[in-house]
């Protein structure tokens, strides 16, 4: 017979079965509690990260919309869509509110996943041609970087483009496609209007007096620039101009600069 030197109180502790169920229950309860909390927390954390990524993608795929102008400076029926963000995006719909207030749309995404994509920093065109469609959706097709929407554009209509990430944009102004020339590697590149006028600030001031330097301009009383009453007389107007040169070069305007429309 082997006699161990285990103290008596330890033997008693090991051999005592009282409270075993409570101990097991407490341990299991704590394990289940930790499992439940960690399960919900980790799932919620993952869901939040997913939405943060979605929001980040949305913020990084902003688009701009401009009307293309021809060489004569006239607005055409072609929309230029530029992805100004850092990740690619797809166009979802082009919404058109007609002059009679009817809302129409053209689908720019198809069920088979053949979406109209715009790579980061790239430009695509949407050509409006055809007849005004009486029903939704307006027929549309696209290949490469050009889509055609069967719609006859008229003055007074409003256009809004929607991306698959939920970004929306309306035309900001006019844009001209220029040839960048052989020195820059050839090809075409879009440039925005170099000087942009904010016509929300367009005001005119009545001019009295005859010929410079006898003019007198009442700068304290600007009038609405869209309803000039005194026709046939000299007028003075003000409008906030923004230098929109992507290369941020300085544009100098002086007394010899001319404004034309």
């Amino acid at each position: 017979m082997v006699k161990t030197n285990t103290p008596k109180f330890i033997k008693h502790f090991i051999m005592n079965r009282k409270g075993t169920a409570e101990v097991i229950g407490s341990v299991l309860f704590i394990i289940i509690l930790i499992f439940a909390f960690s399960n919900i927390y980790l799932w919620h954390d993952n869901a939040t990260k997913t939405m943060n990524t979605l929001l980040s993608d949305k913020l990084n795929s902003q688009i701009e919309l401009h009307w293309l102008i021809d060489d004569a400076g006239k607005e055409t029926s072609t929309l230029i869509v530029t992805n100004t963000g850092g990740i690619s995006t797809s166009l979802s719909r082009l919404w058109i509110v007609t002059t009679s207030g009817v809302h129409r749309y053209a689908n720019l995404e198809s069920a088979n996943g053949n979406s109209f994509n715009i790579a980061a920093g790239n430009t695509v065109t949407i050509v409006l041609s055809g007849t005004t469609s009486p029903t939704n959706p307006i027929p549309a097709s696209w290949t490469g970087s050009e889509a055609t929407v069967s719609f006859n554009k008229e003055d007074g209509e409003t256009f809004t483009i929607l991306t698959t990430l939920g970004n929306m944009a309306s035309p900001k102004g006019l844009i001209k496609i220029v040839n960048s020339g052989g020195g820059g590697g050839g090809g075409t590149a879009p440039v925005g209007s170099v000087i942009v006028a904010d016509f929300q600030t367009f005001s005119y001031y009545p001019v009295t007096g005859q010929q410079n330097p006898n003019y007198s301009i009442d700068l304290n009383n600007p009038l609405n620039g869209y309803s000039i009453q005194s026709t046939g007389k000299d007028v003075s107007f003000s409008v906030v101009l923004t230098n929109n040169d992507p290369n941020k070069r300085t544009i100098n305007l002086n007394a010899y600069s001319q404004c034309s429309s």
Binding site: I24, F29, N39, M51, K58, L162, T164, G166
Partner: protein, 123 residues
């Protein structure tokens, strides 16, 4: 006694699993909901109403249950389920008032999970 504890803990574990699943598919998924109101079309018929074209840009399917216009609950034809990435049209009729051209209207779209999406539009 040990058997009672084991059975009790099994029931507790099962209940927590059910609760967790319900949380994931229910109110927990509210963070995954996102709606873009892509078009607001005020219609001048009598009674006048507005057609909201909604785009589900979230990561889960959602159900629009209520719409409030300027804080007043409006009438919708029926709860509208919008699948992920789908566009749906929701017809909303103001209750107790009519739309006026040139006025601002604040729309609050509420989903079954309790998420609210707000936007102000002008007729």
């Amino acid at each position: 006694m040990i058997m009672v504890v084991m059975v009790g803990m099994s029931i507790l574990f099962g209940a927590l699993i059910v609760y967790s699943d319900n949380f994931h598919s229910g109110i927990g998924s509210s963070v995954l909901e996102s709606i873009t109101v892509e078009d607001v079309y005020f219609r001048s018929s009598t009674p006048n109403y507005v057609e909201l074209t909604l785009f589900n840009t979230g990561k889960v399917d959602l159900k629009v249950t209520d719409v409030y216009i300027n804080g007043q609950m409006a009438t919708i034809t029926a709860p509208l389920t919008i699948a992920q990435g789908a566009h749906e049209l929701l017809r909303v009729t103001p209750s107790g008032s009519t739309f006026t051209i040139g006025s601002h209207y604040n729309f609050k779209i509420v989903t079954a999970r309790g998420t609210g999406f707000e936007g102000t539009y002008i007729w």
